[in-house]
Symmetry: C2
Subunit: 415 residues, 2 copies
Amino acid sequence: MASSPERVLPRHAEMSQFGVRDGHLLVGGVPLAQLAARVGQTPFYAYDRAALRARVASLRQALPPAVKLHYAMKANPMPALVAFMAGLVDGIDVASAGELKVALDGGADPREVSFAGPGKRDIELRQAVAGGVLVNVESMREVAPLAAAAAELGVPARVAVRVNPDFELKGSGMKMGGGPKQFGVDVEQVPALLDAIGSAGLAFEGFHLFAGSQNLKPESICEAQQKSFELALRLAADAPAPVRFLNLGGGFGIPYFPGEQHLDLRPIGDNLAALVARAASELPQASLVIELGRYLVGEAGVYVCRVLDRKVSRGHVFLVTDGGLHHHLSASGNFGQVVRKNYPVAIGNRMEAPRQAGASVVGPLCTPLDLLADRLDLPDGREGDLVVVFQSGAYGASASPQNFLGHPACVEVLV
Amino acid sequence: MASSPERVLPRHAEMSQFGVRDGHLLVGGVPLAQLAARVGQTPFYAYDRAALRARVASLRQALPPAVKLHYAMKANPMPALVAFMAGLVDGIDVASAGELKVALDGGADPREVSFAGPGKRDIELRQAVAGGVLVNVESMREVAPLAAAAAELGVPARVAVRVNPDFELKGSGMKMGGGPKQFGVDVEQVPALLDAIGSAGLAFEGFHLFAGSQNLKPESICEAQQKSFELALRLAADAPAPVRFLNLGGGFGIPYFPGEQHLDLRPIGDNLAALVARAASELPQASLVIELGRYLVGEAGVYVCRVLDRKVSRGHVFLVTDGGLHHHLSASGNFGQVVRKNYPVAIGNRMEAPRQAGASVVGPLCTPLDLLADRLDLPDGREGDLVVVFQSGAYGASASPQNFLGHPACVEVLV
């Protein structure tokens, strides 16, 4: 449908984290066609070390030095990337014993690893105690197996309490606190849990609050951090030991869809500076931790697939590729999105070619859900072209049904 | 929220495909707790041979004997199940070279295997020719590599034409025909494709039409079959050889959500009987084929996970299990559903216990998307209970992001 000339449609935020040379996108400084040749196949994910480094550096600059940065590896558990991130950040957050193994293999310091999850199995709790990492306790149920593991192994069970606060992170993609939730322990029940932790002799270290994720409103993030800090102060009164660890969560979003903008870190840095100052007097032994997954890695990654066929059906152009929702469920719009919107997509070997009206990029699967771009303005695609999906460093390969329809697995490279 | 007493809420269709003994669901005749012990872990999927056999038998009874039944293995590619189905049905439909391997390993007769997909790679086309299976051509692009493979290998390239019709299957869960589509070749372009197939010396065998899937309205299915038959008749006039194979698609749905009923096969059988009679005079060499995936296997499977914790948050009961969206994305509502609805769910070791108001069944993942049942009436769950998700034989394990968050893979058993 034609839009009236004066109406400006929302556009994707600029994707400037990668360079372009001779029309080719550069990932890790390598022109895309050369990178595809090095990988030896399409489709693949590529993550750019320089972009990861730059993102951590920009956070270090915007946030007070006293704030610790943790990487929530659920966003991207590729072992080489986790090992690389372990060298850049102050700690790694894991969500399963499987992730714990990857973090420790990658060289993360167990003292700076924490483990959260609403359904931890007994064997996972035992693995965490044996690994010497911090467990974010999310249920009264976890106390007994943690105490048993500590007694059996002769090592302390290091714990923090994950709190389900009585407020939400407003405007989040995902709400993970407030109201009835499976995450953490309702703030009303925390004093009883702290009491049980003290009685069981677990090594209490602090609190974990996580109100929501994928938020692009700095004022909402600041408000949640403020409230989380106040709540932790209140709860600290009942704690069996001083608070040394206070995880204020994350929630920093990245722009995926037309009209979304990059998050402004300045107000968040100012807010955290104020909290650091208060913590110095009110929780003098506590480190403040920010836990980020998507924000650290999401923009540093691309998904790359190849055009197999340019098909015109009833006047509409379909670029049929070898990649699709089996590798990148989120970009297809099938992972927690109510209304499907396009990720930023480009033809990576013709970045400077003029864009034409509305082509669709689809995958090889026999389902109309297999859609990577719906009527997006792209250069006229040809067989052999490399389609790039930006903002693909988080919740990509590991969050996709790779076995669906029996196509080859994708490859992931860190460049 | 309380509903007014006179309002009857829609309910799930009865799940009577499995027996119950002493309160335990029987899958393959085995009580669920014993089956879980045999599998050796939760979570798992279990598929019931007797239920698969009964479903095929009921179709054979309802449809005319001349109609061939194909299994579209994309619905469930578990190798043991595909091999079992190969012994029950008349052919297997595959969607990739990966699926082709499983079908042939499972003993499917290559003469009765067909391969469809909008983005077939050249190597896949060559594998199909070498395997002696029928390729559903979906683009003019496929003709040249098929001809090259046939010449090189010295075997015929058996082809049918997948047609994108000029009508839709009304009321389908997924529309796969009508309007601009990546599937098949627009009916307007079919004569030119038939001409190219003839010129290239490919072995033309017929047509494939597939208008949509997951349809619970017999009248819509009958109408699509009628129109598909008429369309094939029209197109046959331009074909380089007589039509021997006419795949009228499938689209037979199963009841997932409250208020949905089992599909009435009778009108479909009557309609097909009329088409068989017409085919005898109008397309005398043609076999009519119905291609079904979900309808054959969906109701024969359950997903089983174990309650790790019964958690009460602000008055709401959460059964936290070891299974979730990483194994069963569809049941979480994140696979092509606009509005999340509950699959039928039960406590499989207490099938006859009284149900109480609104508990939620969640998984171990750190995301609110990890929801297997939202405020469903269930017996009061306890740690160790076995949660059963019915209607899980199709688009379950293979359609889920099993690597998400690093939890153990699920196991699949055929019982």
